[in-house]
Amino acid sequence: MDSGARPNKSLDASTVTSWVRGRGVYVAFVVLVIFNLIVTPNFASVVTLSTLLITVSPIVLVSLGVALTIGTEGIDLSVGSVMALASAFLPLYLGYGWPVGLSVALLVGVLAGLVNGSLVAFVGVQPIIATLAMLVGGRGLAQIFAGGQSLPVTDPVILWLGQGRLFGLPAPVIVAAVAVLVVGFLVRRTTFGRYVVAIGGNRSASYLSGHPVRRTLLAVYVISGLLAALAGVVATARLGASDPSNIGLLIELSAITAVVVGGTPLSGGRVKVVGTVMGALLIQLISNTFIANDLPFTWAQVLTAAIILVAVYLQKGRGVV
């Protein structure tokens, strides 16, 4: 679902290599799956697959938003803290019924996105700094509002979002899948999606083409905040309790990695939705592989770094100059 150039119709050798290169993440993923099939006990099972999909769901949700911000040549470091904010607020208003609790939690995400977006679009603060401030301050706020405590969530509808199933499909996976479809549709089919990549590709040119640059930027950060809040709700539901101190901790690193490994360049001008999903799956699978084989955490981290480098290296090629 990339909005960038599709491969040429004429298939000569260089086109094929460049096609493979553009998809380093798929190659890496397939290799890792094969490795697991051979090495990891009980890997080829429905449960394994569903666990993988469930755990990856929150990462996919935040990655989608981060991908959009990166597409505009920005970034959103605050997603983890926004998850925490949503998690903190969710139980506070569940007493009024789940629609209220859920709306408040999502609204908090929208608000955080509005703050980020306004700073970026109207004040002209660099995205990395604006969202860094939200990363630092947002979690602090979440902890203050929740009194640092983890509160249990018992509302069945909310719990379903984290633990339920529909037609045998885990609810978090359904939520993530819907988000993927919606964002994919936005990116591919709508003027908004075009504005996003145009702004990322050349902001001045986009402005001079009459694109609503500021509004689009604002919208991108709001969407990212909303998706992060949704991820926060899902994670909270899965845990059965809010946990503003820990939910979403460092998830921004996973998300950025997923986006970049998935082929969206940090320099903006392109958004790869499917690639992002694959990127998220890849990094989750890496971590699952290490845990399932009881490899020491420290070396797992070293190897994760190496795999990220290889996957990104495989897809560079679209060099500059």
């Binding site: 990395i128 630092v136 979690r139 602090g140 902001r203 950025i256 070293v302 770094a305």
Partner: protein, 329 residues
């Protein structure tokens, strides 16, 4: 490759002296803010201007300061180095592991090894044309893992007061040794940045890498040197920190990359590259250090509130600068 994304429209306009004043204000904004903050703090807190407190502030910023010098080079060149925090951890562990063998080695090995890793980062970025963010993000993960593995996941104590400890705890002419080193680093860094060809090329690459390449400048080499320096300084900071703690802590320097980036940006350097000053970065480090000191002086803020205050402070400073730099246009 971030060729001036935002300010391509609206070229210069106001009379030259006004433009200069605003440019200066923008570039020196951090120093202006620094002076203001010091003045206000001196009035509000009795203990602020005591010699001991000022020394605390400077000493606290010293280790981060070393990293910031390297980070300034990297950011002006249009890149970013997220691996420095982990390098501090690795540097400390290397020092702790080697100090028993020979204390000079404990000082030399960390910058050497981390410099080498920085060199690797640089090669991947300059030669393989991979995004600095992702290369050094992998570094952040991998190097921390390495530090933890080498340390067997525990802090390593450096018993006794070998000469090594002096580098973290001793004094030269009444100045703490780490402070002494950071002064040297800023002075040399500032000179290199402002007054040498190498420094100009760093600016050129940050301004437009493609142009710099077409102008025949040694782009790759310059970038590799910047990342190597950044790594070496971070490793050295790790060694000094180990000397100060009398222990190597594999978790030392956690999230320092964010502090370093904040300091550089607070100091008026553009994250898009191509502009910035070393003096601004120094002011940025001092500002962060003072902020922490003030929070401690207050002594009542909970840790969550501290976070909120830090985030807010960062935004205020940056917004003020955004305002000033807009005026400049």
């Amino acid at each position: 490759m971030s060729t001036g994304s935002a300010d391509t429209e609206g070229l210069g306009g106001s009379p030259a002296w006004r433009e200069r004043l605003f440019t200066t204000l923008q570039r020196r904004g951090a120093i202006v803010v620094l002076i203001l903050v010091v003045a206000v703090s001196a009035v509000v807190f009795d203990n602020f201007l005591t010699e001991q407190n000022l020394e605390n502030i400077v000493l606290q910023g010293a280790f981060l300061g070393l990293i910031v010098v390297g980070m300034t080079f990297v950011i002006i060149s249009g890149g970013i180095d997220l691996s420095v925090g982990s390098m501090v951890g690795l540097g400390g562990i290397l020092a702790a592991l080697t100090v028993q063998v020979s204390w000079p080695l404990a000082l030399i090995l960390p910058p050497l090894v981390c410099g080498l890793i920085g060199f690797g980062n640089g090669l991947l970025i300059a030669r393989a044309k991979m995004a600095p963010f992702i290369v050094t993000l992998a570094g952040l993960l991998g190097i921390r893992g390495l530090a933890l593995a080498l340390a067997n996941e525990k802090p390593i104590g450096i018993g006794g007061s070998s000469p090594f400890d002096w580098f973290g705890q001793g004094q030269i002419l009444g100045i703490s040794v780490p402070v002494f080193f950071v002064i040297i680093a800023f002075a040399v860094g500032g000179l290199v940045l402002a007054r040498t060809s190498y420094g100009r090329i760093i600016f050129a690459i940050g301004g437009s890498e493609e142009s710099a390449r077409l102008m025949g400048l040694p782009v790759d080499r310059t970038k590799v040197i910047a990342y190597t320096t950044s790594g070496a300084l971070a490793g050295f900071a790790g060694a000094l920190l180990a000397a100060r703690l009398s222990a190597g802590d594999p978790n030392a320097g956690l999230a320092w990359e964010l502090d370093a980036i904040s300091a550089v940006v607070v100091g008026g350097t553009l994250l898009t590259g191509g502009a910035g000053t070393m003096s601004g970065s120094l002011a940025g480090v001092l500002l962060l250090s003072i902020l922490q000191n003030l929070i401690n002086q207050l002594g009542t803020l909970g840790s969550y509130a501290q976070q909120v205050v830090s985030g807010f402070f960062l935004i205020i400073v940056v917004v003020v600068q955004a305002y000033l730099s807009r005026k400049e246009r």
